[in-house]
């Protein structure tokens, strides 16, 4: 084989590598992005589900507005930390999720007793290295309220 032919083959191989590497890089980065986003979204669904189950069974104390807010804070902590009263410095179950991002809405009956609770995640951004995605009002879930309604009780 002449020197000219060998050089031409080497050129073909480099061209093939350049094309293949481009396609593979796109596929691999896509695999990483989607895998990471789906992993975090699944964590969010689990966290919101756990928080909603907790909220649905928790005693709704409403002696004062402050008691309702304390109850809501406990529900938010349950979603974010997996614990209604997390220790100082506790880490969220989903990275960068904060209690302020958890929306808690009570569906109430005429007498003020809750009949259902809705939980949703607001403006949660996932930085998947190549691109950032933001989920707003999802995941969201509604549970029927099956706990005890205590309009005259204070939060401990």
């Amino acid at each position: 084989m002449s020197v000219f032919h060998r050089r031409r083959e080497r050129g073909h191989a480099m061209l093939e590598l350049a094309v293949c590497a481009g396609v593979m890089l796109v596929l691999l980065s896509g695999t990483f992005q989607f895998g990471y986003i789906f992993y975090l979204y699944n964590q969010l669904v689990t966290a919101v589900g756990n928080g909603a189950r907790y909220a649905a069974q928790r005693t709704y104390r409403a002696a004062a507005k402050q008691d309702v807010e304390l109850g809501t804070a406990a529900i938010r902590n349950m979603v974010v930390y997996g614990d209604p009263r997390p220790a100082t410095g506790a880490r969220p179950v989903v990275p960068n999720l904060s209690p302020e991002q958890i929306e808690v809405n009570w569906v109430k009956q005429g007498d003020g007793a809750p009949s259902a609770v809705e939980l949703a995640v607001r403006r949660y951004a996932i930085n998947a290295v190549f691109r950032s995605f933001t989920f707003d009002r999802r995941p969201a879930v509604q549970f029927p309220y099956v706990g005890r309604y205590a309009p005259a009780e204070r939060e401990p």
């Binding site: 896509g30 989607f34 789906f38 699944n42 589900g49 189950r53 549970f143 029927p144 099956v146």
Partner: protein
């Protein structure tokens, strides 16, 4: 080249399609939990209570496939003790007060498979979910 593309597509399919399946399963399970509790909450010992139980589970708002679709096929079964389940409680007993359990099955959640089908996988995948709740007090059993 062909072999490496096959492996890459399979890896992409595992990350993308399996990821979506896991999410859909999780969303379905959370919804089934809520729907079964909504059904059990309506039990008051009367036949009307059981009709309301079915309606409560079917009318509960919920979305799946990353909140893109509503749940459609929701089946509600009743049981006295968990050994036999029927949609029509009268096939179990003549006394509505004997019904203590509600089971919600979320069926027909077919997820379109995007990448795994290119490497011989299925074109769609059904992601079912179910939950059982008891009444007095309302609680999840499974």
């Amino acid at each position: 080249m062909c072999a490496s593309m096959f492996v890459l597509l399979a890896a992409l399919g595992l990350a993308f399609d399996l990821g979506r399946i896991y999410i859909a399963h999780n969303e379905g399970q959370v919804f089934a939990d809520a729907a079964s509790m909504a059904a059990a909450q309506q039990f008051d010992g009367s036949p009307d209570g059981l009709i309301r139980a079915s309606a409560a589970a079917r009318n509960l708002p919920g979305r799946w496939n990353m909140a893109a679709e509503s749940f459609k096929n929701i089946r509600v079964d009743f049981s006295k003790d968990g050994s036999r389940w029927e949609q029509d409680w009268r096939l179990l007993t003549g006394d509505a007060a004997a019904i203590h359990l509600a089971r919600v099955k979320v069926e027909g959640n077919n997820l379109d498979i995007t990448f795994l089908r290119a490497v011989g996988g299925p074109t769609s995948f059904e992601v079912p979910a179910q939950a059982v709740a008891a009444a007095n007090p309302v609680r999840l059993l499974e």
